[in-house]
């Protein structure tokens, strides 16, 4: 395993009874990159990530995370991996500051708890009991606990589910800060715009397999994909054609109409269209 690989997965399989949740998944995540695992519910995202985090045992396959097999996590490894869970972070009778200070004590090289609280935007709530926090604030606490140990690798499982748009933007800034500081980040999401906004590379997962890995703007070869040219025929009915050379088609149409083409549009598939095609929902 080369030094610039943070995660290496080959032929990962996991079944629950009869149903195969992960069916032979291969994945490489490089050090320092932000990698988004994108997929619908039930695609195997969470199962995959929980195997990488050391919470679930796999049935088959080879997995290395920071050069350790997460099936038998060591203390040292736990200290180097940060995890932001889906909806935990409720310590009923404790305040935000108490929880973050307490967790800082578990790490050999913890960050300053008060600075971390400020960084996730909870400074004003530091003395509040965790059960009085709003949903978004609880997620911030989850993030604070995920990064308190200054992890080399941070897992974020659907981090902005339930956020309002402004909170999401702020959260994205936080992730970008962490990435800029050199933290490798693996996030799962079912928001396309989130993957597009944050990730260096996106892996689309469907039916327990990684169906494509690419930079967001190259997903499904969007640059090369067929463009759809639409227009209206002289009798007014809409017509359209898909073309790899839309400019030539438009020139041809212009010649045919002798000038302006009525109702002319040229569109390329959005990331969402590509994604829905890939996961077989279109």
């Amino acid at each position: 395993m080369s030094d610039d690989v943070a995660i290496r997965v080959r032929g990962l399989r996991k079944a629950y009874g009869e149903s195969l949740a992960v069916a032979g998944l291969d994945l490489d995540v490089h050090r320092g990159e932000v990698f988004a695992l994108l997929g619908p519910n039930g695609a195997g995202k969470t199962t995959t990530v929980e195997i990488l985090e050391g919470y679930r045992q796999r049935d088959a396959g080879e997995v290395r995370v920071l050069d350790v097999d997460p099936a038998s996590p060591t203390r040292d490894w736990r200290g180097r991996v940060g995890i932001v869970f889906q909806g935990t972070g409720e310590f009923d009778e404790l305040s935000v500051a108490e929880v973050v200070h307490h967790f800082a004590g578990f790490y050999a090289d913890a960050d300053d708890p008060d600075k971390v609280i400020e960084r996730v935007g909870l400074a004003a709530k530091a003395r509040a009991r965790t059960h009085t926090l709003s949903g978004g604030q609880k997620r911030r606490l989850d993030v604070a606990l995920g990064i308190i140990g200054r992890p080399e690798l941070l897992f974020l499982d659907e981090p902005t589910t339930g956020f309002d748009p402004e909170a999401r933007r702020e959260f994205w800034e936080l992730i970008r800060d962490l990435a800029a500081a050199g933290t490798t980040i693996v996030l799962t999401t079912h928001y396309l715009d989130e993957a597009e906004a944050l990730a260096d590379r996106v892996g689309v997962i469907a039916g327990g397999r990684l169906v494509e890995v690419a930079a967001p703007n190259q997903l499904g070869n969007r640059q090369e994909a067929l463009a759809t040219v639409s227009w209206r025929t002289p009798d007014g009915t809409p017509d359209s054609a898909q073309s790899a050379t839309p400019t030539a088609l438009v020139a041809d149409l212009a010649a045919r109409f002798g000038g302006e083409v009525p109702g002319l549009t040229v569109t390329r598939p959005t990331l969402e269209d590509i994604y829905l095609t890939m996961i077989g929902q279109r």
């Binding site: 919470y55 679930r56 995890i83 869970f85 960050d111 080399e152």
Partner: protein, 282 residues
């Protein structure tokens, strides 16, 4: 791996939080557990208040002597201390651990470099401290209001100590073990409360043990509470009362043996069945 790149140091100075040694971690965890316990009013009232109220009621109803110079309180206090110890350990853990597991608090701890045993140590410290406080309160109230005679010999105090310690250990381990039976946060008390209540009725807490039907005595003898009560009776009742016990004496060796066996059973169950995550988490 040679290029282990930690994220760059933030502009702010180094962290004040340094990881303490294993003992330090356990003490911190214990302090946190006690703080959580004290702040949750229901558990304080239920755990500490219930045995106190029972003593107040029973000692007020039955104020006669069961033998010349031996008040009913002298008998009843033994059952109440044993019940109280079972409440702070078995019931408290059996009810709270499923809640923490359901909220993802346990999963959260599992994701840190905290050694697993530290979490258990925190619970044990919490149980020991609350058990000690509860016993002291019971004794104080009974001495002040109901003329309880405290043990006068060192031997009696020593017996008091080891019976309580062994009993609490057995009940703590069984409480942790039974917590894995509850499927959800709410079912913890449904699992634990009936067990505790039945044991209280058949183990001689509310009634004089030897007045119970023989078969009931035999069933009770399989479980720890009966032996805790019996051990404590040897502490608070005159030696001559030993002749009234089913075995013709207080049978302290057997008390130690049965409680010891339950410690082993509890420990094995904990090690083999304890779950850090809920069933749906896998």
């Amino acid at each position: 791996m040679t290029t282990t790149t930690r994220p760059a140091e933030p502009v702010t100075a180094a962290a004040p939080a340094r990881r303490s040694g294993p003992t330090g971690l356990a003490l911190r965890q214990g302090r946190l557990e006690i703080r959580q316990f004290l702040r949750s009013r229901e558990s304080v009232v239920f755990t500490l208040g219930f045995p106190l109220i029972m003593v107040l009621i029973f000692a007020s109803i039955f104020d006669e002597e069961i033998a010349p110079g031996v008040s009913y309180t002298q008998y009843f206090i033994t059952g109440m201390i044993a019940t109280g110890l079972m409440t702070v350990s078995f019931q408290n853990l059996g009810i709270w651990i499923p809640i923490e597991r359901d909220r993802g608090v346990l999963k959260r701890y599992r994701g840190t470099p905290m050694p697993k045993w530290v979490w258990f140590a925190g619970k044990v410290i919490m149980v020991l401290v609350t058990g000690f406080v509860m016993t002291a309160l019971l004794l104080a109230v009974s001495v002040t209001l109901f003329d309880l005679d405290l043990p006068t010999t060192t031997t009696a105090w020593l017996t008091f100590g080891w019976v309580s310690a062994l009993g609490v250990t057995a009940c703590t381990l069984c409480g942790i073990a039974i917590s894995s039976l509850a499927r959800t946060a709410r079912s913890g008390s449904a699992v634990v409360t009936p067990v505790a209540l039945v044991l209280q009725f058949i183990s001689g807490v509310f009634f004089v043990f030897t007045n119970l039907p023989t078969w009931m005595q035999q069933v009770a003898a399989l479980f720890p509470l009966k032996w805790m009560c019996q051990g404590l009776r040897s502490v608070f009742l005159p030696e001559s009362f030993g002749a009234d016990e089913p075995g013709g004496s207080f049978e302290l060796t057997r008390v130690a043996l049965v409680l010891g066996v339950w410690c082993v059973i509890g420990l094995v169950l904990c090690l083999t069945t304890f779950r850090w995550t809920t069933r749906r988490d896998g």
